[in-house]
Symmetry: C2
């Protein structure tokens, strides 16, 4: 069973239970309206040693920052402001006091940078490897929330940053080159928190998510939930320094925002984004009515069997 297959089976099994006001599984975050036109959003991520990180290749402070960053990215992808986290740490005897203290220093550094409180969590022993779970809570006016299922035919598709840098960094690290700029980027992803909140305020932005599994895979979630298809222009995908096109299209962990926006307002949105953040929104394609993902080169379909990163 794949990760997505398992999640789908869970979603079906729990569909009959009362929702208690929560919007169900399937977006970057769960949503709970709390009155006053506001909603809270919730997301959780588990990082396992030997799967998501190698202790020898990542400093504990970097890992503390990254554990938080990936969750802040999910909150921002809803158009919400992260307000709090709960942190669970399972630590083996060989992750010493010094390791835990350094991890918390990194976690605190990013918490402070984004004004996020640590509301609770759990610390426990592990029999061997480190496991980390972060649950992040965000808050937003309900009208600002962006979901995966709201893409419309004709929408422009944007990536809010260059892609493939993290994947190139992972490639470097696996080859023993841990000191390249790409490797540093892989270990220190920057969540687009201010960007996500800003895009949440723009009604012409329809669907949004963050790129954690790669453009080819993640865009599929928007297409599935919106009941639409897409064309992606290979020559317009923004390739990060150190990466190649395929890495930019398929590798994971870039944590850049992926969004769709009304085509007639897309130029204005893009100009305003650049004025606000000094960086462009990269137009990478458009939403079409017919299901499926079509890769175009020079405007002509190219048969490519490109898929995203699979965690499971």
């Amino acid at each position: 069973m794949t990760e997505f297959g398992f999640i789908e089976s869970i979603r079906e099994a729990f569909a009959a239970l009362p929702d208690n006001g929560f919007e169900g599984i399937g977006d970057d975050c769960a949503v709970l309206p709390v009155g006053g036109g506001e909603s809270l959003v919730f997301t959780a991520d588990m990082l396992a040693e030997g799967v998501h990180f190698l202790r020898a290749a990542t400093s504990p402070a970097e890992l503390g920052r990254k554990s938080l960053a990936v969750n802040l990215s999910d909150v921002a992808a809803m158009g919400a402001r992260p307000v709090a986290t709960l942190l669970s740490l399972s630590l083996p005897a060989d992750a010493t006091d010094a390791w835990a203290t350094e991890f918390m220093r990194g976690y605190r550094e990013l918490s402070e940078q984004y004004g996020v409180t640590l509301a609770g969590g759990d610390t426990t022993r592990s029999a061997s490897l480190i496991a980390i779970n972060v649950t992040a809570i965000g808050r937003a006016p309900s009208a600002h929330l962006k979901r995966r299922g709201d893409a419309r035919p004709g929408d422009a598709i944007f990536a809010a940053g260059e892609l493939g840098g993290s994947g190139a960094g992972l490639r470097d690290m696996l080859a023993g080159r841990c000191d390249t700029p790409s490797a540093a980027l892989h270990r220190n992803p920057v969540p687009q928190v201010a960007e996500g909140i800003w895009l949440g305020e723009r009604p012409e932005v329809h669907a949004m998510m963050d790129l954690s599994d790669g453009l080819a895979s993640d865009l599929g979630h928007i297409l599935d939930r919106s009941g639409v298809g897409a064309e992606l222009d290979l020559d317009r995908i923004p390739v990060a320094p150190g990466a190649d096109l395929r890495t930019a299209a398929c590798a994971g962990e870039d944590y850049k925002l992926l969004l769709t926006a009304a085509a007639e307002l897309a130029d204005r949105l893009s100009a305003d984004f650049r004025a606000r953040f000094g960086t462009p929104l990269y137009p990478v394609g458009r939403i079409v009515p017919a299901p499926g993902l079509v890769w175009l080169r020079d405007g002509r379909p190219v048969p490519l069997d490109w898929h995203g990163f699979t965690h499971y």
Copy 2:
């Protein structure tokens, strides 16, 4: 560094950050008032294979139920109703599809029993052992919330059930006897959800928490946060079948509620509880002004060096 020492160091390190409306670390749950006189509460627990459970001694369905139960217990200990959870699972290759499916069956069974929705989570591979994190969300009128810091001198101290059954079960299992009633209780704790909500509605209940680390240890948290002390009557501690007095006083994982209540209203509270639930509130002692925990036998102090269970 002990678990509590590490948590204290984290609390200090994060104290200077904005609280974003959250009540900080130190209770069974974090609290966020959301308007309309209501609050949400949040708690997280991590279970690590080889530390909290042995795969050979616990069925996956039991573990699914227990992972949820211990979190529902924390929510109930605040006087709140559990409404949703986020579940993170890190599964090694040898925890097969069948194992995961059975785990989810148990998790769903208890979710349905308590009307709790599964709002999200994460599933990922593990390099070796299973790790499970559950974040539970509860809801309550803010006036019903019970905290550890509200015990007052003169309060009666109650346990809402017999103690030591889980500890006796763990002892049985470690001796290879997995089929005793105590062992079944250890693997299938019953969270006192209805009891916690009911006690939350009683203003004469002052402080409340759930007993996860043992009476001797957990009562210490109420004493510390309330700035008071306590006398415990050894001859009134309710010892579960299969357990002895020391196990009842010191062993963990009973998940019974521990509460303090205004002395003059305690008899009435106890009678109403029995009328509602068919089981008594067990009076085990009283809160006193002077700090420290004093064990009494026949009303006379006994020097005992009894402590609770330490996870870390």
